[in-house]
C-alpha cells in the first residue's frame, strides 16, 4: 500500500476505506413509471401525474428509455447486464415520498458487477470495483424556507428515473474518490444517460467512510449525504476521516449513522431526521412483473455505444503521442473532446508536433482563461477553428510563441481570428536578416564592456544580448534568426 493513502494521526498512520453510492438522474423525457415530464425548474407540481402523487388506485408502468439508459450505463462501466431483474418496494414514511415506498431494486438489480479505472495525478491507474447499478425512483422536494413552522412539498422531481451506482469499498483517498466521480460523470455524459450536473442535483453522491489501522478489518462507517460537488466530496472525506480518527484515538467509538455535509462550514454533522433505525421492509412490488430483457436488444445497445472516454484517450495517446495525463484531461469532459477534435480539422499540417502544441494551448491557455472567467468550453469565445488558426500561425513562423500569447488575449476579447488580428496589430514576426543585423549592431555598440566580458568567457551573457535585441524589436523578431545572427556577430561560429 502506497503511503499517500495514509492519514497521520497521533497514534501513527490510519487507512481510509471509502465506498460511494452515486445517484444519477436518467436523461429521459418522461418519468420512470409515469408519463409526466422530467425537465428541471418547472413551476411546483406542474409535472406531476396521479401516479407520482400516489393517488388511490394508480399503477406504475415502466419507461422503456429509462431501462435502455440503465443498460447503456451498465455497459459503459464494464458491467454484466442481468436479463431478469426485479423491482422491490422500499418502505418508509417521508414528506417527499407520497406512496410511502420507493420503487427500487434490491435483490436483483438490472446491472451487476463492473469496474472503473481511475487515473491519478501521478499517472497511476487504479481499478475500482462496482457492486451494482439499479433503477429506482427519485423523491420529491421539501421546501423549508417558505414558512417558519411548515414545509412545502413539490412533487415535480418525484418519480424521475435514477440509476444508483454502488462502488465496492475499494477507494482509499479523497483524491481517488474525486477521480472516481469524475470518471463516472464523464462516462454517463459521454453516453448521454445523465447530464452529471451536481449543482442541480442530477448527480448526487453519498459517501461511506470508515478508517482502520493497516491490515485490520473494516471499521464502523458513517454515511455522508448531500455532497453536491467534487470539491466538497474531497473536503467531506478529509473532514470525516479526521473526525473519526480523533474519536478513535480518544478511545471513542464511531456511530453507524447518516451525516450531512455542511459546505459552508466544511464539516459533517449528524442527520437528526434519520435518527431512528430504519427497517425498509423490501419486498417485490406486486404491481410490477419481473423486468425481462431481450439479449438481442442488449447486444444492439452494446454495438451502438459511442466511443467511451478510455477508448478516446487511448486513441489520442496512440495517434498523437499525447501523455496519459494530457489525454485523460482532454477526455474528462465530452465537450472538451468535441472541441479538440473539431480544432484538429483546421490544423495545417496535422502532425504529432502541431497536435501536441494544440493540446498544450487548449489545456493551458484556453482552460486557464475559462477558469478565470468561470466559463465552460461551450462558452469559449475562441472557436476551435480559430484556436487551430493561431497554432497554424506559430507553426508557419508568422508569429513567435510569445507573440501568440498576445494574439490569444486579443482573440479572446474580440472573437476575431489570428491572421486578421496579427495584421491589424502589426504583430507579424520579423524574419528579415538586414533589420535584425542593424539592431544587433546597435546593441553591441551600446554595450562594449559586456561584449568584452562575453569574449573573455562569460558565455551566460549571450542571453542578455538576445533579450536586448528582442526588446528593441518589440518581441517581433524571429527568435531563431536572432540567435543565429548574434552568434555570427560575436564570432562564436
Amino acid at each position: 500500500m502506497n503511503n499517500r493513502y495514509l492519514y497521520e494521526g497521533a497514534s501513527g498512520p490510519w487507512e481510509l476505506v471509502i465506498g460511494l453510492e452515486v445517484h444519477a438522474q436518467i436523461i429521459s423525457n418522461s418519468k420512470l413509471f409515469s408519463g409526466a415530464a422530467t425537465s428541471f425548474g418547472a413551476e411546483p407540481n406542474t409535472q406531476v401525474s396521479f401516479v407520482d402523487a400516489a393517488m388511490p388506485g394508480m399503477l406504475p408502468v415502466i419507461n422503456e428509455v429509462c431501462v435502455e439508459q440503465a443498460i447503456r450505463t451498465g455497459l459503459g462501466i464494464n458491467a454484466e447486464i442481468n436479463l431478469v431483474s426485479v423491482f422491490d418496494r422500499k418502505n418508509y414514511f417521508y414528506a417527499d415520498l407520497p406512496s410511502g415506498y420507493q420503487i427500487s431494486q434490491f435483490l436483483r438489480p438490472i446491472v451487476g458487477k463492473g469496474y472503473l479505472d481511475i487515473e491519478l495525478e501521478d499517472g497511476t491507474v487504479r481499478r475500482i470495483g462496482i457492486t451494482r447499478l439499479h433503477l429506482e425512483q427519485d423523491a420529491g422536494k421539501s421546501i423549508h424556507d417558505q414558512h417558519p413552522e411548515k414545509s412545502y412539498i413539490d412533487l415535480n422531481r418525484c418519480g424521475v428515473g435514477l440509476m444508483e451506482i454502488v462502488s465496492e469499498p475499494d477507494i482509499r483517498s479523497a483524491e481517488e474518490a474525486a477521480a472516481y466521480v469524475h470518471k463516472l460523470r464523464s462516462i454517463v455524459r459521454c453516453l448521454g444517460t445523465c447530464d452529471g450536473n451536481m449543482d442541480q442535483g442530477s448527480m448526487r453522491v453519498d459517501v461511506n467512510v470508515s478508517v482502520r489501522k493497516a491490515g485490520e478489518p473494516f471499521g464502523t462507517r458513517a454515511e455522508i449525504k448531500n455532497v453536491n460537488s467534487i470539491k466538497f466530496l474531497a473536503q467531506a472525506i478529509d473532514h470525516e476521516a479526521m473526525r473519526q480518527i480523533s474519536i478513535l484515538e480518544d478511545g471513542g467509538e464511531i456511530l453507524q449513522e447518516t451525516r450531512l455535509f455542511d459546505s459552508v462550514r466544511g464539516v459533517t454533522r449528524s442527520m437528526r431526521s434519520k435518527e431512528h433505525a430504519h427497517d425498509y421492509r423490501y419486498f417485490p412490488d406486486p404491481d410490477l412483473p419481473p423486468l425481462v430483457l431481450d439479449a438481442a436488444w442488449v447486444e444492439e445497445i452494446r454495438r451502438n455505444l459511442p466511443e467511451l472516454p478510455d477508448a478516446t484517450k487511448a486513441r489520442l495517446m496512440k495517434d498523437y503521442e499525447l501523455s496519459p495525463y494530457d489525454a485523460s484531461l482532454l477526455v474528462s469532459e465530452k465537450e472538451t473532446v468535441i472541441y479538440f477534435e473539431e480544432s484538429l480539422k483546421w490544423l495545417r499540417p496535422s502532425n504529432v508536433k502541431t497536435v501536441k502544441l494544440l493540446a498544450n494551448w487548449l489545456l493551458g491557455e484556453v482552460f486557464g482563461a475559462l477558469n478565470r472567467e468561470s466559463k465552460t468550453i461551450d462558452g469559449c469565445p475562441i472557436s476551435p477553428a480559430h484556436l487551430a488558426g493561431l497554432i497554424n500561425q506559430i507553426q508557419e513562423g508568422v508569429i513567435s510563441g510569445k507573440i501568440a500569447k498576445e494574439v490569444f488575449v486579443l482573440m479572446w476579447g474580440s472573437g476575431k481570428d489570428a491572421p486578421s488580428l496579427i495584421e491589424e496589430h502589426g504583430l507579424k514576426q520579423v524574419s528579415d536578416d538586414g533589420a535584425i543585423l542593424m539592431t544587433i549592431d546597435k546593441i553591441l555598440d551600446e554595450n562594449p564592456g559586456m561584449v568584452e566580458e562575453y569574449k573573455s568567457g562569460k558565455e551566460k551573457l549571450f542571453g542578455f544580448f538576445v533579450g536586448q535585441v528582442m526588446k528593441a524589436m518589440a518581441g517581433k523578431a524571429n527568435p531563431e534568426l536572432v540567435n543565429k545572427l548574434l552568434k555570427q556577430k560575436l564570432g562564436v561560429l
Partner: protein, 95 residues
Amino acid sequence: MSLDQETVKRIATLARLKLSDDRMGPMQQDLNRILHFIDQLNEVDTSSVEGMAGVNTPSMPFRKDVVNDGGYVDKILENAPEVACNMFVVPKVVE
C-alpha cells in the same frame, strides 16, 4: 412465535400507527392469534421451492418515453387538506 408489547410498539411506529394503552392489550392478543394461525406454514417443506411474487404475467410491459401525463396541478391539489403556493403543506420537517 409470539409478539411482546415492545415489538408491537416498534411495528406500530414503523407503520405510523399509535396504539393507546387500552388498545395495546387486545391488539397484541389479536396479532398473536393471527401469527399462531400463520405458523402452520412451518409444517410445509419448501426447501426446493422458489418464492412466487405474482401470477399470470411473466414479464413487464414497456411504455414509450413520451410526456403524456401531468400538467394538471389543480387536479393534483384539489383534494389536499392544506395547500400553499401550489404545494402540499406539512409541519416543518427537520433534517
